[in-house]
Symmetry: C2
Subunit: 422 residues, 2 copies
């Protein structure tokens, strides 16, 4: 039985109990959230080495780190180091988006070594299979795509991005965009459909996908293959047409006992973020919303961890449940190990700021503890309570105060806390 | 005559014309904005080496960089390097907050070398004078404080932070806060008042301050000496009591022909930012709002350029006119040259994201140009249009693609733009 089927029957599973404990909510709250589809618990029933991760209404906002090789950069050891960096920085989940090298081996490594759920985008592996068979992606048969999904589900992948909402009706609405289709899965799917003049197999044969997901309790992350690739394209008819479809697909999966999250953009002006969160919750039956960014401007390559932290914080405060990080390397190169670390921290800052704004129990308490340590000029406590104690300590120790060791070199003895405390 | 007096008489000054041109607004829009107090033009009438900077309603959101020595770290050459880094990164104004070494010499260097307005907090120099005379700050006479302000105004400082709203009525409301008073100027002023059991001289003898400001057309930046130092203290009675006073002081200055900005917090939960912007505009007669941050969480020392970019973007979108940057070193040490650069860029991202949300003319156009270059896989144009071309180029060139030079190593040949463009 899936977590959803159990919840619907009134059963509080071990995963629900554990998640409830870590969230500080009642087990019954967790069960009823899962039963309503507003919460998912991501844990493949064959992935024994992790605890499930609960994502959704009333819970702490979660953070995902995308890692994985590319065809231009494939180094298994480096991906292992990125996984460790993501976990060390506090990622709640990791997606293996590898598109180069031995994908199966990399995935096996991640499934084995990760302490958090692993997600994938199976269509990338299908694309690589096609390339190795020296054929074009469009020459793949639908069976070959479904086979890859089943293969990954059987291996223990906890959630998969599937671009089921890329339909004949939605792709025609991309016309007139500045950036067209910027999701790799969305672009591949649209290419296949245009070539065959045929509907998306993942949409047409959706019940087949549900069967796989149900068997392994894989959470379907319904991808936004038509997400806007620049802020001028945001909230357009293509994006919203797809979202309407995703809402219907969420309902169909839910009725079958399959857990679903919805993926969201992307690039979006700050003033459209709240409306997008309200729209997703309303159109998708309150299913958890998993957003990439959103990036609030396009002009900052090299700093997209910041543009997305701005958008992510607002999104989290307005209802997003799960933030996909963006690194400083976005739009420029495959991220490095250090980029992964920076991306996770920036995204955790956004998630936490959103949780404070949502008045989530326990969120502001950490800020209060740190602030009390700051008022007491207790540097050890400040550092240990900070989101990245290693960096906080490094900066502090790089510039030790001279005259009075209890202050910092910003103000020296002209420290407001000292003066006010006299 | 001050810019305000000229505007009130219907005169469009050269400074208004230049500012109107650079903002893409009509000269008459600029004049009427200055005449109403909703726009200030920061330019000391003795500071000939800069153009004036217009800040306020309907204009591009501006960014200030705080630099300056401290008693623990005083190196004139390094401060010069910070000034150049701030200008190079695109700061619209610079505040010299030096508190260590030869303040007069550092200030003279900045006034001479800067191409943008220079602001100061004169009370820091008063505090240093006291220390050199081996007396406590509380032993300073009001005359000594006013003398420092006049000295700096005569030297050509364009705007000064003065903590006139720290009054007997407001400081009593600080009781019960976690962080107390965290503004250095606010803490010094309160210490003086508590010691003497006497009202703040800058409040009591406000007309004397107006006389100095008027003589040199120095913009008064009415400081928020009681700004919250942690998010749990935000929007409390002390902060709002002070803001009410600042509104009255703005009106009094405006009536005298003196230009005024209002300073704002600080640390603030994301969901309180918009309310604070509305409140300031309403209480302070639509005077320009100059905010520090706001930082949306306290737990990220080492990343406060990010916590403040989140708050700054929301503030700008909701009406803030001028963002004071925060660097990664905030709360830990005096910023380095590299911190200055990172701080300015993060703040410019926030300002620009706010300008897009406010639908300011010309803001999104740059994003559209960059996105068109991105769609065309035109890397040179993408880099030259980005907010920090140096960093964008460095990241791109650190990982050159192998198979196809037109893509990047994130996706390699699995580039959505390539696939969608087929």
């Amino acid at each position: 039985m899936t977590q959803l089927e159990s919840a619907r029957k009134g059963v509080i599973t071990d995963e629900m109990k554990a998640a409830a404990l870590s969230e500080g909510v009642a087990p019954e709250y967790m069960r009823s959230g899962v039963a309503s589809g507003a919460i998912v618990i991501t844990k493949n029933n064959a992935h024994d080495s992790i605890e499930g991760l609960a994502v959704g209404a009333g819970l702490r906002t979660k953070v995902n780190a995308n890692i994985g090789s590319s065809q231009d950069h494939l180094d298994v050891d480096e991906e292992m180091a990125k996984l460790m960096a993501a976990l060390d920085a506090g990622a709640d989940a990791v997606m293996d988006l590898s598109t180069g090298g031995d994908l199966k081996a990399i995935r096996a490594m991640m499934l084995r070594e990760s302490s958090v759920p692993i997600g994938t985008v199976p269509i990338y592996q299908a694309a690589l299979y096609a390339k190795r068979k020296r054929k074009s992606f469009v020459e793949l048969a639908p069976d070959e795509i479904f086979d890859v999904i089943e293969e990954q589900a059987a291996e223990g992948v906890d959630f998969v991005t599937v671009h089921c909402g890329v339909t004949m009706r939605s792709i025609e609405k991309v016309e007139g965009r500045i950036m067209g289709i910027v999701s790799r899965g969305g672009a591949l799917t649209a290419e296949w459909m245009r070539y065959h003049k045929r509907e998306n197999p993942l949409f047409e044969e959706y019940p087949r996908l549900l069967k796989i997901a149900k068997k392994y309790d894989v959470v379907l992350s319904l991808g936004d293959g038509l997400r806007p690739g620049c802020i001028a394209d945001a909230t357009d008819r293509a994006q919203i047409e797809e979202l309407v479809t995703l809402g219907a697909l969420q309902k169909a999966a839910f009725d079958e006992g399959v857990q679903v999250m919805i993926e969201g953009p992307g690039h979006m002006p700050l003033d459209q973020i709240e409306a997008n969160m309200i729209l997703q919750k309303r159109l998708c039956n309150n299913a958890p919303f998993y957003v990439l960014g959103p990036l609030v401007t396009d002009i900052a390559p090299g700093y997209d961890h910041i543009t997305s932290a701005i958008g992510g914080a607002i999104a989290a405060s307005a209802g997003a449940d799960f933030l996909c990080y963006v690194t400083p390397s976005e739009h420029l190169r495959l991220p490095t190990v250090e980029d992964v670390r920076e991306g996770v921290i920036a995204s955790r800052i956004a998630a936490h700021a959103g949780d404070i704004a949502k008045k989530r129990k326990g969120a502001i308490e950490r800020d209060i503890r740190l602030s009390k340590a700051r008022k007491a000029l207790d540097w050890e406590a400040q550092i240990s309570l900070s989101i990245d104690p290693v960096k906080a300590r490094r900066l502090r120790e790089s510039a030790p105060p001279t005259e009075d060791k209890s202050v910092c070199t910003m103000c020296g003895t002209l420290c407001a806390i000292k003066i006010d405390g006299k």
